[in-house]
Symmetry: C2
Subunit: 94 residues, 2 copies
DNA sequence: ATTATATTTGACACGAACTGACAAATCAAA
DNA sequence: TTTGATTTGTCAGTTCGTGTCAAATATAAT
């Protein structure tokens, strides 16, 4: 339910960076990136791309997690979530 | 991108019901249900359930389409949509 | 053609949700 | 115990979603 937040925290810690530094790079408040890492807030798509650049990881990896989180936000707790998702997958495939 | 709207229009027409009637049942403006059928607006979850009852079709059928539309709204046009969706499917399965 | 009914369109209102800032509180080292 | 890092709570501004209403357009029937 918060795969991206956990992921970027993990990356930040292994690179020994401070929230303050990431926040400065993203031009947002430190408090905000803190909330984001703990899943209380979400990054915008543009911010995800920026973070990927800053951490030198692929856009694709982080954007996939970001999309996954967004999708789960919209369907989770619905008994037909899986059915709806699968239909969406098929729709996109075609 | 608008599977539910098309579906409920189809059902309504085969049952020879008017937008006015459906709108009255849902207690919303006729203009709104018109927009919904054409994909310009979305039903709420509660309204989907009500429509299913009114048209005597299963909740599951319409809710699945409704979820599918919502999911596609949130991921469509993103190049990693499919990857994100698939990850979400796996997450839900576990 | 005229009227009556059905549907669509566009503008706007209201509230909820999202993004962000800021200040204060807490945590962790030194 | 003081300093720096992180977290928490609240509030402001903006955007998005749900709805109404009035006017425009289409469709029927007479």
């Amino acid at each position: 339910m918060n795969s991206l937040g956990e992921k970027i925290r993990e990356i930040r810690e292994t690179q020994h960076l401070l929230l303050r530094q990431v926040a400065a790079y993203l031009e947002i408040d430190t408090a905000l990136i803190s909330k984001i890492e703990r899943g209380e807030r979400r990054l915008t798509r543009e911010q995800v791309v920026k973070v990927a650049k800053y951490y030198k990881v692929s856009d694709e990896e982080l954007l996939t997690l970001w999309l996954c989180d967004k999708v789960l936000d919209t369907v989770s707790n619905d008994p037909y979530a899986l059915k709806g998702l699968k239909r969406a997958v098929n729709t996109i495939k075609n």
